[in-house]
Amino acid sequence: MKAVEVRELVKDYGNFRAIKGISFEVNEGEVFGLIGPNGAGKTTALRVIATLLQITSGSVAVFGYELPKEAGEVRKIISYLPEEAGAYKNLTGKEYLNFIAKFFDDGEKFQDMVRRGLEIANLGERINDKVDTYSKGMTRRLLVGRALMINPRLAILDEPTSGLDVVNAQEVRRIINSSVEAGVAVLLSSHNMLEVELLCHRIALINDGVIVASGTVEELKKEYDAGNIEEAFVKAIK
């Protein structure tokens, strides 16, 4: 079964067409990247799949559940990490993880989820401090922990290492990779081409609401006779 199936997706904001009929699939246990410049439509596409935005036309299915009809079922199996996400500032890191885990299970699995969230966030004693006192890197690690602790079938990550320093970014990538090894499908967006090469099994290059090319990193480099994916992207949009 496909983790994500997007067919001819169109998304309008009033008179502005942000996505102009894109199609792609994400396989189980795969990291699929939507790559493009700011304003290309990456975040809009992720928000539609994450059940946040309505579909103008086309279809989206997540593990066979159609949107928007089965949005409730989709929300049970996905985890979405927005680019500029925050956490509730008056809660401690641990309270925040507890709060989120309760939506998924309040029995035995709840404890396992929180334990896993604590491991991923790896904030030590600071997990008992209020989120308000966290640095940007600490907050992002807490949020990655929140997103992956529930063992989602699909993790939707919008610029997962946005604003992080090299060390923190590398740590987040390591966490994502280990989740994928555990069977999680990942759909991520990024304009960090190095990150894409390091993380993604397959990518789609998106520009001005249209997918201009898709395939593995190696396939795209070969297709556009490029030394790296950045060069391939520039050639693809010309």
Binding site: D12, R47, L53, P68, R75, L81, F103
Partner: protein, 423 residues
Amino acid sequence: MIGNIVKKEFKELFTFATLIPLVVIAIVFGLVGQSIGNIGETMEEKPVIGIVDRDDGDFSDIAMPILTERAEVIYSGSSTEEGLEEVRKENGVALLVIPENFSQNIYANHPGEIEIYWIMKGAGVMDSISSGVVEGLIRAVNQGISSKLIQQYSSSDPALVLNPTTRVETTFFKGKEIEGLSSSQLGNMLSSQSIAIPIVVMMLIIMAGASVISSMGMEKENKTLETLLTLPVRRSHIVIGKIVGSALVGMIMAAIYMIGFSRYMTSFQISNINLADFGLSLGMQDYLLIGVSLFTALLAGLALCIVLGTFAKNYRSAQTLVFPITALAMISMFITMFKDFDTIPAALRAFVFAIPFYHPMIAMRALMMDNYPLVIDGIAYTAVFTVIMIVVAVRIFNSDRLLTGSVQKRAGLGKLAWGLRRR
């Protein structure tokens, strides 16, 4: 340089979003003021009264010209029943009865008794102005009699000269006959509730409303809303959870506020009249209805706030959005203080009935007068209002508005309930 900063600040702060609610509320306040009327004009108007003179003695001859000159006398006869009927029919204030032995008693060094039957229309501040004017008439009658006593009977008892008459008062108010209380005494007692209860309700609505609107603003500012909306929880549960949580916070905050305020109000309390002695008490069923009225109004207010909160871009803009709620609560409070529901013009009555916060403010007074239909209709209306607001809020939560500020048209109004069922 300063001018440049001033220009920037003005552009940032003086927007249509901040201006429109202010203009609307200013217009509403103006219309409310116009509808309620002018205190000065009411005081200058001659009060409409009836007079029954059974004495026809020297002192009633002093009283009658004073009364007829300063009041519009619409009944002058010998029957109390007829007089009352006429005064009621002509929307009058009181029927004054001067009994047979009035002058005789005064000659015998006993105060003359005047029977006053008050026709009380409302318990608001504005409603009691006419009765205040009649009280002034009685004082004028007393002065006239005192002058006569001083001029002609210098050996009179000084106490009698100072207070030549006593009153036996009966007040008719909303079908109840309350003996031994003047309309102003009853009005004072009821108006102390007219002030305290609306202020409690207003504080509760404003505190809880500000909490829920701020909560929406903070969700957006702290970027937590997107995560919340992708969790496996129904939109209706998010809306209800926010409403109940904010109601609790609002109640705690209002309770803290009211501890101080009740002490402040106690210092103004001058009357020791117990309304229960006059059959104006509330039973358990009445208190239950007041509780239900308050609870539904709070839910309605919060549901309205959550709809308003969806327009908040951040915490600061959320503070601006509290203003319409504050204004509606204040309008309800002032109208409750100044006028009874039954004595305000029909258009204003329809307007205040539409404000959910108005109903708990008037509930206690209405129940005291056995006006159950008004309270029950208010609760029913407020409950319907709450459900509509929750459905609208859920509908907005299901749309793109929360994240993008615009709504993706997907379903008509007929499908509003669909959102509640599916999510």
